[in-house]
């Protein structure tokens, strides 16, 4: 009778111990601050700034101005969505404007605008409604720039 009851008792103690220790183990192994996922619009900001630099180097001033405007508005939305992370908002604005690549051609600008238009179109199904309008205007803006260059 005694032997019969000790087995289950020990097992229960082990189980209780294990249960009590489990959250501790989880707490110790979890990385402290889970970094927020990158804002998908941040990538579009980088792309728009690079296009503006490329267009400037190619002498396409209308494209440069439009893509600079795109970068500004997209960055404003990125900052609005995540105002608490200083690195996200401060870093890009303090970065010096990208060095215009030497000898850029209109063909390269067309290629970049085509890529930007596609990237925005691909993102459209994933964005919340308050970003869809801005994204749509950026995509249509790229299409308009392509038409102007054609």
């Amino acid at each position: 009778m005694i032997a019969d009851s000790r087995g289950p008792l020990l097992n229960r103690r082990r189980v209780l111990l294990a249960a009590a220790a489990a959250p501790l183990a989880v707490a110790c192994t979890t990385p402290p601050p889970p970094p927020p996922p990158p804002d998908p619009l941040a990538e579009l900001v980088v792309q728009a700034r690079a296009d503006a630099a490329l267009a400037t180097a190619a002498g396409a001033t209308e494209v440069a101005a439009a893509r600079t405007e795109h970068a500004k508005l997209l960055q404003a939305e990125v900052d609005r969505a995540r105002p608490s992370t200083p690195s996200a908002s401060a870093a890009p604005s303090s970065t010096p404007p990208e060095q215009p690549p030497g000898g850029a051609t209109p063909e390269q600008v067309v290629e970049a605008l085509t890529a930007a238009r596609q990237k925005g179109t691909d993102l459209m199904p994933t964005v919340p409604v308050h970003r869809a309008g801005l994204l749509g205007s950026v995509v249509a803006g790229c299409a308009s720039l392509l038409e102007a260059m054609s």
């Binding site: 209308e62 494209v63 101005a65 439009a66 405007e69 795109h70 508005l73 179109t121 459209m124 199904p125 919340p128 409604v129 308050h130 869809a132 309008g133 994204l135 749509g136 205007s137 950026v138 995509v139 249509a140 803006g141 299409a143 308009s144 720039l145 038409e147 102007a148």
Partner: protein
């Protein structure tokens, strides 16, 4: 009894989105009418005019179908529309076409601002982009600057 409009059971556009689509349909009616009005002045650009008119007719029909699918009654066309400036020659015709295309951009962006329905989003983006491209093409044809629209559908563009 109809479903309460605040809870879309099928993901179909409701409320604000439907009103935005109706506004977009109204601009498509205006565009079809305007392309008809100016065609006599744009003999040299007959192909471009016909292509624009056909695109807007197709968009109008598709938009009416979207509305009927949500049990909304599509807004009818007005008997006539007032261009921003009198249409008397090729230049004023092109200006009127640029104006209706820009109105289209604004209306279709308004749809994007109000719906999460993926099919409707796709249509709205396609319509916004098409209007922006045609506005640009007409500006180019008319020698107007800037040729491009930076942000079609907004005051900036």
């Amino acid at each position: 009894m109809s479903q309460p409009s605040s809870t879309p059971p099928t993901g179909k556009p409701t409320g604000d989105a439907i009103q935005a689509v109706q506004d977009a349909l109204a601009t498509e009616h205006a565009a079809v009418w305007t392309y008809g009005l100016v065609s006599a002045f744009l003999k040299e650009q007959a192909d471009q005019t016909a292509a624009g008119a056909n695109s807007h007719r197709a968009r109008r029909d598709a938009t009416e179908r979207i509305l009927r699918d949500t049990n909304a009654e599509p807004v009818p066309p007005a008997p006539a529309y007032l261009p921003p400036a009198p249409v008397t020659d090729a230049a004023s015709s092109i200006a009127a076409l640029v104006a209706v295309e820009i109105d289209g951009c604004t209306a279709w962006r308004g749809v994007l601002d109000r719906t999460e329905d993926q099919d409707l989003r796709r249509s709205a983006l396609d319509a916004l982009t098409s209007c922006a491209v045609r506005a640009t093409r007409w500006r180019k044809t008319g020698g107007l600057t800037p040729t491009s629209l930076a942000l079609p559908g907004t005051a900036v563009g």
